[in-house]
Symmetry: C2
Subunit: 442 residues, 2 copies
Amino acid sequence: MEKLLPDSAISLVEAGWVIPVTPAGAILKEHVVVISGGVIRDVLPARLARERYPEAPRIELPGQALIPGLINLHTHAAMVLMRGLADDRALMDWLQNHIWPVETRLVSSEFVRDGTLLACAEMLRGGVTCFNDMYFYPEAAARAALAAGMRAALGIIVIEMPSAYAADAQDYLSKGLTARDALKNEPLLSFCIAPHAPYTVSDKTFDRIAMLQGVLDLPLHIHLHETREEIETSLARHGARPLARLQSFGLVDANLIAVHAVHVTEQEAVLLAEKGCHVAHCPSSNLKLASGIAAPAQLLKGGVNVGLGSDGAASNNRLDLFTEMRLAALLAKGAEADPTVLPAHTVLEMATVRAARALGMEHRIGTLEPGKSADMTAVNLSAPELLPCYDPLSHLIYAAGREHVTHVWVNGELVVDDGQLTRLDTRQLAAKAAHWKDRIRS
Amino acid sequence: MEKLLPDSAISLVEAGWVIPVTPAGAILKEHVVVISGGVIRDVLPARLARERYPEAPRIELPGQALIPGLINLHTHAAMVLMRGLADDRALMDWLQNHIWPVETRLVSSEFVRDGTLLACAEMLRGGVTCFNDMYFYPEAAARAALAAGMRAALGIIVIEMPSAYAADAQDYLSKGLTARDALKNEPLLSFCIAPHAPYTVSDKTFDRIAMLQGVLDLPLHIHLHETREEIETSLARHGARPLARLQSFGLVDANLIAVHAVHVTEQEAVLLAEKGCHVAHCPSSNLKLASGIAAPAQLLKGGVNVGLGSDGAASNNRLDLFTEMRLAALLAKGAEADPTVLPAHTVLEMATVRAARALGMEHRIGTLEPGKSADMTAVNLSAPELLPCYDPLSHLIYAAGREHVTHVWVNGELVVDDGQLTRLDTRQLAAKAAHWKDRIRS
């Protein structure tokens, strides 16, 4: 890049290694990312950057790898308030006797705001700069994300079950669309249509959603083929597997983000690939709830785009993409009896550019390339437990954890500075967590 | 306990929660562990301890859970120097083209000392107080553990392959036994006989080991039924599966610590239970090398004692029992399609008292009970990413990580104080790691 901007208008982040994700596998030693107006302007060798911009403010991170901010492709952020409330239980016991009763009794705009703030604190400190959320009161979640300085895709949640938030499917849709209108000028926010799951959404509602999608053309965020029971129930009720049923409404296309996709036939994988669909792979949640073992490596091989999600903290119990990256890489190798599948770089793509693609935001985030928003995460690879370091990419996936994240930027703003949140007060968050814990337990 | 000791002879560790592991599932709120002479003298409510020992020095950890020090039941500590050297490769490519060439060229007493020191730093900071090691130059590893103030079970390694360390199986045995003699008065050390694996140890050597065991009666630390190939090779060469072959030498008894045990038939599981054998389950390594998915929950159900190991950092790439605990719990649920198997407390037992039992040290370590050595780990459960906390046991397994470890004691000595190693200089360790990295790369 020629020097088009004065030094005062830019800032430099210099790192021991810059891993831009694109081109695949590239590891740029001692490079600088040049930022202005929240946008990446250039990525160049540190020596050159110092010559070109001698007066520009610079953050030096010689022991760190700088990567694109991680993207959590599926979560229910506010559910952190129920983290570890009930573990080691069968899915229906867990839902019916523990999670749903709390939600029925307590979920409110305040619950979602406070829970999402706590979730944002956890995710930002763990290097996650964007999350794809599905929960009640999406406007409250959106305002929490904005307060945290975090990027979010909010689900316009639709479910037949009435709640304090909405009376019926139509009401969910209206409220979600109203929230979207209210927030349409926020550059950090985007929206998905989020019908909860095939077993909680009626044909009539899917029909309505299909009609709306003709106008909205939004990503469609939905739990799909998570458990065998879901598929059996669909066959019994509708005479079709959930994916086929979605297709009958015209909803299987490049907007579809199928969350979990644990139980997918070869034919279904071909369909997902042909239609340009996306999958949000959530390995911790799938194992913890004993939903089964998905086959992300097979899906990728077949041409399906796969990203990574933490799911909610009530079924994980961490909103931690480092854990999901490592687990995805390891589990695929073990399950497919092939240690070469899901190599480190592929998994990093799943947590960054592939998730961006699923959200329709690949032009804006997911890699460290000129023109994209400066959503970035610095990971310290110099801790004793990470020594020696032969390959920073390997370390990011197999050895490092979220605790090694030192700095995080969203849209050019430093939101985690040397491990500390710059916008959120962790003591206040702890007080809120204690407040909700008391109410949930009472 | 009556007050038998003056306040000056004891010290108190007061924690928000004390989780003694025995009795199973107990969570003692605001309790104190009373220590003197490296031994736990009492566990009692904090209020009572303050009355009884008003003058005793006290460490207060109100946000922490205090648990028994974690025990890594299988590792090759010095291999941290090859951490991440070669990932995403088939086992034989990995061994033959990357690991073995480095070992042949570089392994020495210095390599093992420096590598083991670095491994001890990592393990101690991660709450591990004892490790069961198998590597060349066990005396060098032992001296590193002593320098780190860490408890270790050293393998008297036996393998047919000559190395810089020893010329043949007999030489390995002699050198290991000599090391044991030299170190027999060290209270932190114990020894295992460690024939590397069925495919690297001859009948003649197993015969010799069996004879020696008549005198030594040591735990027998061996890789066993790790891969299908191992079993097929044994059938082809010896006409028996490896476990049956070991049994033919009389080596299947309460001393056996079968590492991995991924491929175990129902009959073999019954045999392991009947003979009182132990298994070291290493889930990360099994997945990463695509060895398969073990069935620890089935083994436990059948009465086999199962502990947890990290394996070496070249195939993991972390010496992190928190990661192994979480992965063991999750993987068992997913693989067995049952979310209730390996609940949190069982997994904590695997990383503590069950590993102690396998090493023949249950009378000395593995729980927080009066009379046992004060090997203890404090885990901060007050970090934002762990809020709220309904159940400290759940958090230890599913939400916390080694980064939440704040204090560690071995034999009553504080070896990690507020996250800092008290005996090891991390800068020196980093310099050693850099030195060996250069030599390995050259």
